[in-house]
Symmetry: none
Subunit: 416 residues, 2 copies
């Protein structure tokens, strides 16, 4: 069963408002095994809406429309549906009475403009709106079942769950779709794809795709099978195969975040961490304190943005700074060790680098970032060349520091 999603509104088509309705509807539909042919957004324009409805009805079994059924002159969805059906609009007495009593219950008289919200194309069914004054419309055009819902997310969601979803469940023909996302950091998209190999081949079920966001590469696994048992088994096999190929490069699933995973590992081992940051300016500490309860495992952080503060606050030796510079492994080492001793924590992470856009040299170009991880009895230091602009370099650097700590907590060497 294929669905098409149509959202209507000038504010959407002009990009003034993000269309969250279509994504929400799509997620609901795909969760029950309905395929999505596409989402289209058009403005408050009757001709464009009619064309969109005609096109959608040619390719989909069900069309879900949101928006364009308010009381104002730019709300034209009912008119467009009636025009495509080739029928007039008729006033629905039940809904008119409902709107009038809705206003009366608030001590007001129904504005005349709202009368239009009781108009339904002849032969279509009125859908009750439990959260507002816009009635929905259900009808059949050709082989396509059409549902018209409000644009206000709250009203749309209530109507969708009550009136649309039961229809979809009944007609979807049984497939179950399971989704899982596996998150990685540190390898590029293509390097990851090479390791996974045939799992990403087109046409596989479960299918495996990749998404890149904020330096993370995530694998999206979608399984579609007639029964939940099958879907679970196959999803398990494919995600196991991904894990076998990528090992600990996968740091989490679905809603997991890297800070969350690292803080969870620390909590499990009852360990504590401190931070000493230069170029990331406090961002690492911010990430580690994003979650409630982080004070049990994160004690303290320093943002030592100047050489003086690295010396006075963390005890970095002026000789080290003079000999190697602020962006160097010896400085990163002394920052991490100094932070760990002063914060009395099990671990300390340090970051010192050149976030740019200025300050790069031939030996140390923009993106050069040195990391330290101090632990009892030692300190690991590494240098990486981070790609991107200032914001990306700073963001990826915090993720690299967290990744160093994560692999240390796992008792494994960093895989890059």
């Amino acid at each position: 069963m294929h669905a098409f999603i149509l959202s209507i509104g000038d504010e959407l088509v002009l990009g003034q408002t993000l269309d969250t309705n279509s994504a929400w509807i799509a997620a609901q539909l795909s969760a029950v095994g309905c395929d999505i042919a596409g989402h289209l957004t058009v403005g408050d324009d009757q001709a464009a809406t009619e064309r969109a409805i005609r096109n959608a009805c040619e390719q989909a079994d069900v069309l879900i429309i949101s928006g364009g059924i308010g009381p104002t002159e730019d709300d034209l969805t009912r008119q467009a549906i009636a025009a495509v059906m080739g029928v007039p609009l008729e006033e629905n007495a039940d809904w008119l009475a409902h709107i009038q009593s809705y206003f009366a219950s608030r001590g007001r008289v129904m504005p005349d403009r709202n009368r239009v919200q009781a108009l339904i194309p002849r032969g279509a069914q009125m859908i009750w709106n439990h959260a507002g004054t816009a009635a929905g419309v259900a009808t059949t055009i050709g082989r396509t079942r059409v549902f018209s819902t409000p644009g206000v997310p709250k009203e749309m969601k209530a109507m969708f769950e009550r009136e649309v979803l039961p229809y979809i469940r009944q007609h979807v023909g049984g497939a179950v779709i399971l989704q899982k996302t596996l998150h990685t950091f540190g390898l590029g998209e293509s390097a990851l794809a090479e390791r996974i190999g045939d799992l990403m081949k087109r046409g596989c079920n479960p299918s495996v795709g990749t998404t890149v966001a904020n330096g993370l590469v995530s694998l999206r696994v979608n399984a579609r099978f007639p029964t939940l048992d099958d879907a679970r088994t196959k999803m398990g096999q494919t995600s196991d195969a991904c894990r076998a190929a990528l090992g600990d490069l996968i740091f989490g699933e679905d809603l997991d975040t890297l800070p969350q995973v690292v803080m969870r590992l620390l909590a499990e081992e009852k360990k504590t961490v401190a931070t000493a940051e230069s170029c990331t300016g406090g961002w690492l500490a911010k990430f580690l304190t994003d979650l409630p309860g982080s004070s049990a495992n994160f004690y303290q952080g320093w943002v030592t943005y100047t050489n003086d503060s690295k010396v006075s606050q963390l005890g970095v030796s002026p000789a080290t700074l003079a000999a190697h510079g602020a962006v160097s492994e010896p400085t990163a080492r002394e920052m991490a060790i100094g932070a760990r001793v002063r914060a009395k924590t099990d671990f300390a992470l340090s970051i010192t680098g050149i976030a740019g856009p200025d300050g790069g040299t031939t030996e140390k170009p923009v993106g050069t970032v040195c990391f330290g991880l101090a632990y009892e009895g030692g300190c690991q230091v590494r240098t990486f060349n981070m790609f991107g602009d200032r914001d990306m370099i700073r963001d990826r650097s915090t993720k690299m520091a967290m990744t160093m700590l994560r692999f240390h907590l796992l008792g494994k060497p960093l895989p890059f």
Copy 2:
């Protein structure tokens, strides 16, 4: 001139990821007076992509595609464009050399998979990607100019601004549209609207609307006139009227950010700042170091997440903590003063509060945040009740601290 926007990706069509690209592109296009016929989203499916391209080319003068040009097997946009054009794909030697050198500069060999990113439909033009390995494609299909850009927002935006927008500007006729955004922090949307009054009435030209994002309330002023002179004059009058109504509540325009404005004020007065953070966990320092060159005015920050660290690092008195608690104006005062003395800066900002979701009490509910601003000869302290979840409370708190410093630098009292 009519544009159509096509976004491609399974994660988009399934509703797993919100399509922010289409809205961004639409906003850019409408800002220069280009009409938008619609946005369509389809999955990683070559047949669906081909059909979408054909449909779009029937109704629009320009088609802008984002997504589907990565290195993996689910990236099929180039193949779809070539199929609609009826031409084969050809390897672009310039771009292949660029990708190879991109990997070489990182000490790596180009994975074989990335080779596909140098494929361009015969007769189409390659568009340079300054931020990644996916080359864009520009071509003409029928009467429609087609641009294919990456799905990664940062890469798409860079390519759009550099290669697509100049084409649009050149080919769009008629009215001049000017836009200006004025940013405020501290007052709610409706309080702001009351102060502005009739300027926000529907149907005005220039029009004034409000947008709320991350605790900032911004006024969007749009002027649409036949000539640039008219548009500039009217835009000036309306934005002057907004400024007259709101005064220093407006901290900046358009791309200005609050950290940028505060750091600019510090730079103008050659003053320096340090930070002492508890609940915000380093986020204030992160914001103040977002921009290059911040080391001239930001010296140092502390994240003192525990009582011990407030005492050992900032010299907060254990008696103060015992008598008033960590979240109190006396503690905020000692944190700010302690930070200023130790960092040897002109100013220091402190933040200590209850970000939640736990830890609130009747006297100090979640959202209670105390602020200190230490300066030569004194320290201002304030307490605010911040609204929202943990993330919002932390974010708004950094903005309130920056706003305290901003008004101090302007020599004016905080207006709330």
